[in-house]
């Protein structure tokens, strides 16, 4: 029995009307829908939405995305260009699975589960229930978490058993196609003790400037000594509303690295929470944003040190051009007793235009002793001397500026420690610049 995911017939029912007027049908989803409708829309005075242009959050007019036709399907599959060497791949379009390239037999024999979300829920209900949306959205996105829970019908479920290491990355493409469509990608990674895996989500719109709604959740759970690298490239349409709620639970001596590349969307809200729940655990929280035109990219983060001897290291970099806006509000919390916490948080904004606006609000809540917490936010422009150096080598001004911005973002990308993935990210950032 499927505990929480819409079954195929139910999808059809839901698809029949606007997501904002028709409710879902499974009990869990009905409950989530009720919660969604009951919760108020964010307002300016909400601390969790401070600086955000909440007036831009009107979700009326979005409808469930329709299944794509065969020609579109073929086109999107061709455009799903990931890494050359991968362990597995799924491609979704409008929340419908197009392709599943399963993992090799040896990994399956070791007990690795890599399934579309609905199938995983049906085949592994206990495991699924134990982890599915267990961490609450506590950074202001409760309403959108409820929306996601009520509508989710596609995504990936990855379970890596104890001691299993998957060397090559796994990829999932989520395409959105059609006007005013809405998609709800979900990613759930469970890495048991000493397991190791890298997963990349690509969020893409088929048409770069069609209105769309995307409301995604990605949850990572790391057992003792596990190592998870999670990369999410958000490249939705330039007219999309993008909500993204991430949680990471880091167990004892486990090491999580996540990187969010925010390239697309018009109004982007990203919430990312790391729970340092086991001693010796470490979470690296990375993000790069390329904001241009009238884009707003709103990132809220929470580094929660729940036990002693844990580390978190956050580095977010934004490049802003035109009238783009970014918001960073990040909190480091050290719970009572979480001694010897080592937490770091750094945000850097590179302003390429006088009209761009970067808002930063770092914060600390410390209730333990012997902790080291550092945070800082800086905003600046391209250094004239750096620019002159590149110009003096014959590089034209526009290219020189791009190179400097690229380098600025690449410093974050290089923290991943996986060269093929880094190169892919560089390629995507470069492609974004040359638009």
């Amino acid at each position: 029995m499927n505990p929480a995911i819409l079954e195929s017939e139910e999808v059809l029912t839901t698809n029949a009307a606007s997501i904002l007027s028709a409710g879902p049908v499974s009990p869990e989803q009905a409950e989530a829908w009720e919660k969604f409708t009951a919760l108020p829309m964010p307002v300016r005075t909400d601390e969790a939405w401070r600086f955000a242009n909440v007036k831009d959050l009107d979700l009326g007019g979005y409808v469930p995305a329709q299944p794509v036709d065969d020609a579109t399907r073929d086109e999107l599959l061709t455009r799903s260009m990931g890494l050359a060497s991968i362990a597995g791949r799924m491609v979704f379009a409008n929340d419908q699975l197009l392709v599943q390239e399963t993992l090799g037999d040896s990994l399956r024999q070791k007990g690795v589960i890599w399934l579309p979300l609905d199938q995983a829920a049906a085949e592994n209900p206990e495991l699924f229930r134990k982890h599915f949306m267990r961490e609450e959205a506590i950074l202001g996105g409760q309403k959108f978490a409820a929306l996601h829970a009520s509508q989710v019908r596609a995504g990936t479920f990855l379970y890596v058993p104890r001691g299993v290491e998957i060397d090559l990355p796994i990829e999932a493409f989520h395409w959105e196609h059609g006007a005013n469509g809405s998609v709800f990608p979900h990613t759930l990674i469970i890495a048991e003790d000493m397991a190791k895996v890298t997963l990349i989500d690509y969020y893409e719109s088929a048409v770069p400037d069609a209105p769309a709604l995307a409301c995604a959740v990605n949850d990572l759970w790391l057992g003792a000594g596990a190592s998870v690298t999670y990369v999410c490239v958000q490249n939705w349409s330039r007219k999309a509303h993008s909500f993204q709620l991430n949680s990471t639970v880091v167990g004892r001596d486990a090491h999580s690295k996540s990187l969010f590349a925010q390239l697309g969307g018009r109004h982007v809200r990203s919430e990312s929470i790391s729970h340092l729940r086991g001693q010796g655990g470490r979470s690296d929280m990375l993000a790069v944003t390329v904001a241009e035109g009238a884009q707003e990219v709103d990132a809220r983060t929470f580094q929660i040190h729940e036990v002693p001897n844990t580390q978190s290291d956050l580095l977010y970099k934004n490049s802003l051009d035109d009238t783009a806006r970014t918001i960073f509000a990040g909190l480091i919390r050290v719970d009572p007793g979480a001694h010897r916490t080592d937490a770091y948080q750094k945000v850097r904004n590179l302003l390429l235009s006088d009209e761009a606006e970067a808002n930063s609000a770092p914060g600390l809540e410390i209730e333990a002793d012997d902790v080291r917490c550092t945070h800082g936010a800086t905003s600046g422009q391209i250094e004239q001397e750096e620019l002159f150096y590149l110009l003096s080598r014959g590089i034209p001004k526009k290219d020189a500026q791009r190179l400097i911005v690229f380098g600025f973002l690449n410093e974050v990308i290089e923290r991943l420690g996986n060269e093929p993935v880094q190169e892919k990210l560089r390629e995507l950032v470069r492609a974004r610049f040359s638009e």
Binding site: E383, Q384, E385, E386, F388, Y389, L390, L391, S392, R393, G394, I395, P396, K397, D399, A400, L403, I404, F406, G407, F408, L409, N410, E411, E414
Partner: protein, 267 residues
């Protein structure tokens, strides 16, 4: 092969970097005050001068740095005035500036940086071929005793003083300028680095390159022997001569020149 020359050649010619009656200000302060100098292609000229004489201002002004305002005069590259050109256009026309303090460009690898510079010199829409590029770069790096790991490192970031200067010469070797201005290339170098950097410059000497060496110390000129030495004081060339002039300066200091010019009969 470089021809050895007797007396320096002051005749006007088209193949030269020619600076005529140049005036340069930073803010309200005039630093270069009517400087005239010609570096024929194929020659190495050295400018020596005490601190504050305007040596570095000269190099930045030739390169087109926006803070250095040219208030008068001309800079002709093979007969064309380059003062109206943006810095990048000057570079593509064949000018190269080796910086006294090369900038660090975080996150941009040396290889990418060099490729971007070379691609800027290709015809529109064309790029330099990768294999050829790496072969060329490695060959030049070997000459400068630079480890291959430098290609992947961010431009000058975390480089020692000597490594930065070698990197400047690597860029010069790859970009093949017609005229190079080397600003205090010897500063911050130990003797080994000085030897390597000088050998790199000497290897590039030839009939297709004019070099202007800017230096405070005579020491560099033991390694890169100039055809002509100029002495710069207070924004002007006050004396020019052969390489022996550098030795004389070394022996007697800049004061004897200054004494010479306290009664300026600039005729």
């Amino acid at each position: 092969m470089r021809e050895s020359r007797g007396a320096p050649n002051y005749e006007m010619q088209m193949s030269s970097l020619s600076i005529k009656n140049l005036h340069v200000s930073i803010g309200d302060k005039e630093i270069i005050r009517g400087l005239t100098l010609e570096i024929p292609k194929g020659e190495v000229h050295a400018i020596m001068g005490p601190n504050g004489s305007g040596k570095s201002t000269l190099s930045k002004a030739i390169g087109g740095h926006p803070d250095y305002i040219v208030t008068g005069g001309e800079v002709l590259l093979d007969g064309d005035d380059i003062l109206g050109l943006d810095p990048d256009a000057r570079a593509r026309k064949g000018l190269f500036l080796a910086f006294q303090y090369p900038m660090e460009i975080p996150g941009v690898s040396n290889a990418n940086f060099l490729r971007a510079a070379l691609n800027a010199r290709q015809p529109e829409g064309e790029e330099i071929e990768a294999t050829e590029f790496y072969a060329q770069m490695y060959a030049e790096m070997d000459k400068l005793e630079m480890a291959r790991t430098f290609t992947a490192r961010s431009v000058n970031e975390g480089f020692s003083g000597g490594e930065k200067k070698r990197n400047e010469i690597l860029q010069m070797a790859m970009l093949k300028p017609a005229y190079a201005v080397l600003d205090e290339t010897d500063s911050g170098l130990d003797i080994d680095a000085l030897r390597i950097v000088s050998a790199g410059v000497n290897a590039l000497r030839g009939p297709n390159l004019g070099i202007l060496l800017i230096t405070h110390y005579q020491r560099l000129l033991d390694y890169i022997v100039p055809d002509v030495v100029h002495v710069m004081v207070e924004g002007r060339i006050v004396r020019s001569g052969g390489k022996e002039l550098a030795l004389e300066l070394e022996e007697r200091g800049y004061d004897f020149i200054k004494d010479d010019i306290t009664e300026p009969s600039l005729a």
